[in-house]
Symmetry: C2
Subunit: 299 residues, 2 copies
């Protein structure tokens, strides 16, 4: 039986080490600014997006070190994710004081500093993938990685989803809009993580398509569980404010369907993710286990 | 005699058309968000950075349409510049109500919306250069353009400079720190604009170095004149709040040197820019004229 918990722990360590290697050092003229980015980047986190990227690459490639080649891209994904949390937590957005059990970036350093920490991390993601440090992959692959990441993180993806999320607060919205919000705000970057792994690993078109389906379904499962945990967990368990969605008048899966049906929908999405991998061999077992793990996670 | 005013007008029109062609349309699920980006992008602007990029390309290339090839990169520069203005104007930063004679993005649409407009434009810049629309240049050149842009716009450049600027408000700072702020906050992106043109136009190493020097000196001249106009012009002339720097307790060239000496330093920087072009033929005349024009501008 594949031990997903041990796998995730090992992979997280690999990602942490890479982040420490690739992230700017807090020194020189900009030390104080870089410190604000490092604080949010290293305060913790499951590193799910980088892990999905590395894991997807290994499931299409026979190259044993393909994950090493992709580490800068995996780190870029985490920079983008971290920036999005910093900006989402701002007073003008979700106004959260805690994240991963610690002060949010603006509570720790100030609002202007947090806006700039986010801007810096977002920009650094693209510096990482375009830099000369990142030589193991072809120019064409690197450009495709940048294009996929920029599109998923941008106005037709994550940023657009956050806008819709904010605009929908306190309103009754149709379920179709909730789906659009989830798909763009969370789903797009998770799907991109899987796609970037696939592209970096040399996936053929049919593999890329199957992995894109997998990514979409896993992203949905992930967000449904997020909605669920916000209702069913304590702030201590989550490391951020529980009951936050209801407090902000946000539409969520539990608000539409209740807790039990929502749980069933999360499991259904995870199984759809697994089903998308039907044509893959045992190298895809970690991805299969990851999809099911995401549904069972408690924070 | 080269007519710089007419040249700038023609070039600005070229850039405006390209921006309209390449910018996302305000339609679909994300129309309201895209509208916030378009508002700030099309509210006006001198388009100096894109024009520097196109002009630098023509000064090293014999290819008559080299500027056409570089238009997406030129637009990316303007997206980055516009995002930086949106975020700088936020209440947590410079807290400005007016920009180019119109309401700033957060005054018009709200603070969360403005933060996201900035995030969207920043991300879109990288989508533009990596997208398949942008096929005229080699993969290698496109990756180099992304690397130069990301580095200049990021934590060791524009974002880091803005952090230092905010951190220095209301403090007495040494002149060396003011120089660092100017070089990173304004100079880095202007230098990158010239470098991107040079790289896209196929500059050899010595040309790239000379144009980098030109860009640094022009960036400095530009920022010194900005400082100067803030003291000597009315809000109406500027289209933004005049006397803003002093009101915010910002260090500026006039605060260090007085108005007359500051004017002399701006002219000196522009002449240093022109001197950097000594090895170039008459194709560099627009760049020479641009450096001198920047010192004489009134808004």
């Amino acid at each position: 039986m594949f031990d997903i918990k041990q796998y995730l722990q090992e992979q997280r360590q690999l990602v942490e080490e890479a982040l420490r290697q690739y992230m700017l050092a807090a020194e020189g003229d900009f030390a104080a600014h870089i410190e604000t980015m490092r604080y949010s980047l290293f305060v913790g986190g499951k590193r799910i997006r980088p892990i999905l990227c590395l894991t997807a690459a290994r499931c299409v490639s026979d190259e044993p070190d393909v994950d090493m080649l992709l580490l800068p891209a995996a780190c870029a994904l985490e920079c983008i994710h971290t920036y999005s949390l910093i900006h989402d937590d701002l007073p003008a957005m979700d106004n959260d004081d805690l994240r991963r059990g610690q002060l949010t970036c603006h509570k720790k350093f100030g609002e202007a500093e947090a806006i700039l920490a986010g801007d810096g991390l977002l920009t650094y993601a693209f510096e990482l993938i375009s830099s000369e440090q990142f030589l193991g992959l072809s120019l064409e692959v690197r450009l495709r990685l940048i294009a996929v990441l920029a599109r998923a993180a941008g106005s037709l993806g994550m940023v657009g989803g956050q806008f819709l999320d904010i605009a929908s607060e306190g309103k009754e919205i149709p379920f179709a809009l909730l789906k659009t919000i989830h798909r763009s705000k969370t789903g797009a970057l998770i799907t991109a993580a899987v796609q970037m792994g696939a592209i970096g690993g040399g996936a053929v078109a049919a593999q890329l398509q199957a992995l894109t389906e997998y990514g979409g379904a896993v992203g949905l499962a992930f967000q449904i569980v997020d909605d669920l945990l916000d209702v069913t967990s304590s702030s201590k368990q989550l490391g951020k404010t529980a009951g936050h969605d209801a407090g902000q008048g946000k539409a969520t899966y539990p608000a539409f369907f209740g807790v039990e049906k929502t749980r069933a929908l999360a499991i259904e999405a995870a199984e759809r993710a697994v089903a998308a991998l039907v044509g893959f061999d045992e190298r895809a077992n970690p991805l299969r286990a990851l999809a099911r793990y995401i549904v069972s996670r408690t924070n």
